[in-house]
């Protein structure tokens, strides 16, 4: 595992691995996305209470899963970067953050659009919605810190600390927000999510896997641009473009 980490820690190696992995993630995610959409939007029967409105679940739940998954991935990458001083791990975390923020935003927008017909209002201070909003602020804070420093390395490592503290804090935030909502309102706003019929469930699971693969597809593209941006002065990047040392210095 350590030799693997060290291999991946080399920018050209990670660049090429990402290049080779991208099409695999792309095609599997697109196929599963198509299958999940057909299963969710056409094959699954309308809900007996919510009619066709429930179908937003196929967007909402996978993005909610991704918003947490990406933060966990960022925290692990940050810890690896801090402990073994792997700059590429920080590059992966930095490349993942805007995607995580995007998934969080999609979750919030889809959730509030779902809330309008079901709860009669776009926003309620529901436990999960509120935690998701706080999560969005954590993503924004991470990105702000990483970009605030003139020196890339300092920004990376400062962001890493924040990601790790945030990942430890996240369960506490969720627990506190849950406690807070039980204090103020009953569970009248809960959706009947515990027992989903099989014909509704399998497209959801397919969508969750498809979203995860989609994330890795976009991540491998973003990691490559991130590497190119960070290593723009390295000789292997210049040789990629077929640019000699003389023209590389023209910038």
């Amino acid at each position: 595992m350590f030799t693997w980490l060290h291999k991946m820690g080399s920018p050209p190696v990670l660049y090429r691995v990402a290049e080779r992995a991208a099409p695999w993630f792309k095609w599997t995610s697109l196929v599963l996305l198509a299958a999940g959409l057909v299963g969710g939007l056409i094959l699954a029967p309308p809900d007996y209470q919510q009619g066709d409105g429930f179908r937003i679940i196929y967007l909402h739940v996978p993005s909610a899963w991704m918003s947490l998954f990406v933060f966990a991935l960022m925290a692990v990458a940050s810890a690896v970067g801090l402990i073994w001083r792997l700059r590429m791990a920080h590059a992966v975390a930095a490349a993942a953050a805007p995607l995580g923020a995007g998934f969080t935003l999609v979750t919030l927008v889809a959730g509030s659009l779902w809330g309008k017909p079901m709860w009669g209002t776009y926003w309620v201070w529901d436990a999960r919605l509120t935690s998701e909003l706080i999560l969005l602020f954590l993503y924004l804070g991470f990105t702000a810190v990483v970009n605030a420093f003139p020196d890339q390395r300092t920004g990376d490592r400062a962001g890493a600390i924040l990601a790790i503290v945030g990942a430890v804090d996240l369960p506490i935030i969720h627990f506190s927000v849950k406690w807070w909502t039980t204090l103020h309102q009953g569970s009248s706003l809960k959706l009947s999510g515990s027992n989903i019929a099989g014909s509704m469930l399998w497209p959801l699971l397919v969508m969750v896997v498809a979203f995860t693969l989609y994330f890795f597809w976009i991540l491998s593209l973003r990691v490559r641009t991130e590497i190119l941006r960070r290593e723009r002065r390295a000789s292997w990047v210049l040789s990629l473009q077929g640019v000699g040392g003389a023209r590389g210095g023209a910038r």
Binding site: A144, A148, D151, T154, A158, I161, L162, V168
Partner: protein
């Protein structure tokens, strides 16, 4: 060394009282705005009081954070502390304690005064103070991590609160509702247990994070 460091922190605050007093003055002034902005009615202010006190205490806690490490960073004291044979975690913990004694404790006491002025019943003022006593150190410790991260940045005063406030939401929730529950005659034990747990967690883990953050800031 621990005692000298704490003495130094308190002495600096004593010599420059204006800087150290800013958070508590801000706390009192801002709390005064709520009756002016809402209504002087006791029936309206009383249920809002715990929330108002905690939110304003949070904002006041953001104010003084720059003084934690900035001056030491500028004049090179921080470098000496980093070179010290004592564990940096301990040094950070002592600095956080000094900062809390200077800026946090006055807000805790001021919180009792404001609670009384917002018509919180006398027997529940103690609950407000106890909650603040457990909650504001957690806020200071979170602030220590972020102040250590951003000590070399010029825009730290703006960036800091944006980073701390989302992380600190559990403290706000349990803190404000411990007082609200007590005022409603319900048991606040759960909230206090959560506050105490967060205090222990913060005091044991966050100084480590702040120490690492200081080293990162210093290396740049």
């Amino acid at each position: 060394m621990v005692r000298e460091l704490l003495r130094r922190e308190l002495l600096i605050a004593w010599r420059r009282p204006g800087e150290a007093m800013t958070p508590v003055v801000f706390f009192l002034v801002t709390s005064m705005l709520f009756p002016l902005g809402l209504s002087p009615e006791a029936s309206l202010l009383r249920p809002l009081a715990p929330g108002v006190i905690w939110v304003v205490a949070f904002l006041a806690g953001m104010l003084g954070l720059q003084r934690l490490f900035r001056a030491d960073f500028d004049d090179g004291t921080l470098e000496q502390l980093l070179l010290s044979p004592r564990p940096l975690t301990l040094i950070v913990l002592v600095k956080a304690l000094g900062h809390w004694l200077v800026t946090g404790l006055p807000v805790v006491i001021g919180g009792g005064v404001v609670a009384a002025m917002l018509f919180v019943p006398a027997r529940d003022v103690a609950t407000v103070i106890a909650g603040l006593l457990l909650g504001t150190p957690v806020l200071t410790l979170l602030g220590t991590v972020v102040a250590a991260l951003t000590v070399s940045l010029r825009q730290a005063a703006v960036l800091g609160p944006v980073l701390i406030l989302p992380l600190a939401t559990p403290v706000l929730i349990f803190g404000a509702h411990s007082a609200t529950l007590a005022m409603q005659g319900r048991s606040a034990a759960q909230a206090f247990e959560a506050l105490a747990a967060m205090f222990i967690l913060a005091a044991s883990l966050l100084p480590v994070a702040a120490a690492v953050a200081l080293r990162i800031s210093h290396e740049s």
